[in-house]
Symmetry: none
Subunit: 234 residues, 4 copies
DNA sequence: AATGAATGAGTATTCATTCAT
DNA sequence: GATGAATGAATACTCATTCAT
């Protein structure tokens, strides 16, 4: 296997489980090892595929590119993924799952941090989840739309969920007198649009543009400043 | 030729006029007639292609689909467009051009309308330019990203231009004390993100979602309300 | 196009129709010519495919073999036949159709030839229909069974039809006192088995076996002698 | 291992005997046990393969189908059979061998049963040999022809042998004045065709056709009646 | 002996584009 | 201009077989 991009930090997160008490695990250390190797290869293929998709785009990426880069035989690819489409879905699920996990509700407990701080952190977390895998984010943002019905549905669901979360948050804020919201649904879409644009900014850009890219913190700051205070002088 | 969707308002304007008396156009009536017919066919092909792209997506759309729907021979297609890619570019240019044209600077003349009115109208015009061709907008938004380097460049330029326009406007507003702008560039991206999202909202959506779609005016209203006033109570 | 086997005598039989009065045919001599060329190519491909199937067997025959032998581009093949399977079906239909057409009922008219003569001629005609295209017969007999469900059905129908014809014939003969038939259905199968074996004999065989192959007449003779008189002395 | 069809009567005869006391077989009890187990597995694989071939046909049958059904690892298959082709050959040899064994010459001894009885029994034995393994017979009849050169040769030899046997029998019969034979060779082929057709009848057929299938005795009866007496009234 | 992960040769089919008529 | 038959490059996927453990 060659060494591909491997931008994914959580590549190994799933593996380190067998460390504690493992009396019954002795049973099939063999099996578990095989499992580990299998998982590694899967990750390798995912990483390589991501790289290839990023370079050539989904449609121009050939299975041959992936297996060549991974140093794996043709059939091996299909041992791990059903199809070219399937590996894209795996990548997509990966990103969407991670972003979803980064979204948490605002806690209203007495010793909870101030609401505005919570919100800022929430936004930062979401941005960070995307930016942690810029290639993946770029690939998903660029290639996923219109790929196939299932992908479309996944994306629609994903955005609908984010939208729901935002709309609920806005409504809560309004109820508490913290926010002034005319049309919660539309406003939530507006916020989502802002966030999406910032993600793109954080992740896209040619070489030289990348230099003047905002930091995650700056981007979150901008989102909140813009969303909360608006552009009109106060 | 069959009769396709033809969502484009200017689509039919040139059409079926040349039948009557054309004596005085003797100069080059022949040539001009041919020219007109040619233009008509071109439009027809564009309309049909848009329809096909909207139905099946760019990648799944076959030239055969287009010529079948247009009732035109295979070779004829290539008399009007260099390639499948070229007709997409034509469609893309069409939309981007129209939107670009809808963007006008804010006039500072003494008898010009109030600035906020001008801005509102500007935003509405942009939204309207997209919404005038919802299929086309949807196709461009869904299929254009990542299609090929040239398309990418066109889109990047287009958005960069919109961004520039917004950034300048914000800067002007700030200079005049009309706007409170911390980071003009970022803020402009934020506004652009909001607009893009609203366009998508106006143009996307399943059948039942379409019912609760905002009107252009409401969308523009939401954009301005959100952008100007922000969500925090004033 | 190269020159393949072309064992098929009726290759041109479908074409010679436009000879008589053709006032209205003037309309589209172009179209009819195109039609003719098309039909020729189709035949050419069928002939070549038969040759290839005969050489390598259906499963080992590659489309590449066929188009190489036909001197035709890959796509051209699919202009004429939907798939490799489809061209086999066309071949199969060809043979079965021809054999079916060779089967005629026995005429009972007063000035009709004697029944036994009619039967002999009928059997000879069937044998001749097979033997006229020995390669095709061999291919169908060798490759068709178990190829796919549809082929199986066609063959089953074909044999069922032959069986029906024989069974009816036997029954008629029995009614007229010309035949002694214990179990008409079984007897018909027995006759069919005899015929099939003879067809195989006429069509199969290695080079040197081919020398001692019976003639069609001898084979028909044998079939009738055996079927009618049996092996026991009379 | 799973439990497959196992239509073969001798399939289980060798099985599960070796569990009890095997002290006195100390010589090579180990080896013989291993041998027995091996043989058992081989049979199991043959049975399963036959089942799979019967269901999907040789070409559509995958090794995966066989090992899945047999509950055996991939490599294990190749410990018992060289290839997919090899297991088919084993099956084929099985059937042909059994049928060959069922063919015995007519005894002319003084206290031998009457010749006609012997013949009838011979035919019945052959039919029974086929019908004892209807699936296998069907598979061999459907899939073997045209599979590969070696299979073809085996079948040709097999039929040639049957033909020889029949031809000799006819000749003998003729010499003894028991039979009236014009062309012994051809007549033998005719009889063989009749037999083959009856075997097919006995073994083939859809569910409802199976009901009206003749018994072996009836089929043998039909063969002899038809072959000996012919269809013409005596 | 048994396992099953890995291999890689093999191929039917699609479809954008061309060009002779 | 218009036609549509012909082209052929391009590629995902299957599955029998191998071999290290």
């Amino acid at each position: 296997m060659s060494t591909p991009t491997s931008e994914r930090p959580e590549s190994g997160t799933v593996v380190h489980l067998t460390s504690g008490a493992n009396k019954d695990v002795a049973r099939d250390g063999r099996a578990s090892r095989a499992e580990k190797i299998r998982e590694q290869r899967r990750r390798e293929l995912l990483d390589v595929a991501l790289h290839v998709f990023a370079q050539r785009g989904y449609h121009h990426a050939r299975i041959a590119d992936i297996i060549d880069a991974a140093g794996v035989a043709r059939g091996t690819f299909y041992l791990y993924f059903e199809s070219k489409n399937a590996i894209f879905h795996a990548l997509l699920d990966d990103l969407l799952g991670r972003v979803r996990a980064s979204v948490v509700g605002v806690s209203m407990g007495t010793n909870a941090p101030p609401v505005n701080v919570q919100i800022r952190e929430s936004v930062e977390r979401v941005l960070a989840a995307f930016v942690a895998s810029p290639d993946l984010t770029r690939v998903v943002l660029r290639e996923a739309v219109g790929l196939d019905a299932e992908v479309d549905k996944k994306l629609a669901d994903f955005y609908a969920r984010l939208h729901r979360w935002l709309a609920d948050a806005l409504e809560n804020g309004a109820r508490l007198g913290l926010l002034r919201v005319a049309n919660g649904e539309l406003a939530a879409w507006a916020v989502l649009g802002t966030i999406k644009q910032m993600v793109q900014l954080l992740v896209d850009g040619t070489e030289d543009e990348r230099a003047q890219r905002p930091t995650i913190t700056a981007a979150a700051e901008a989102i909140l400043d813009y969303s909360m205070l608006g552009l009109a002088p106060r």
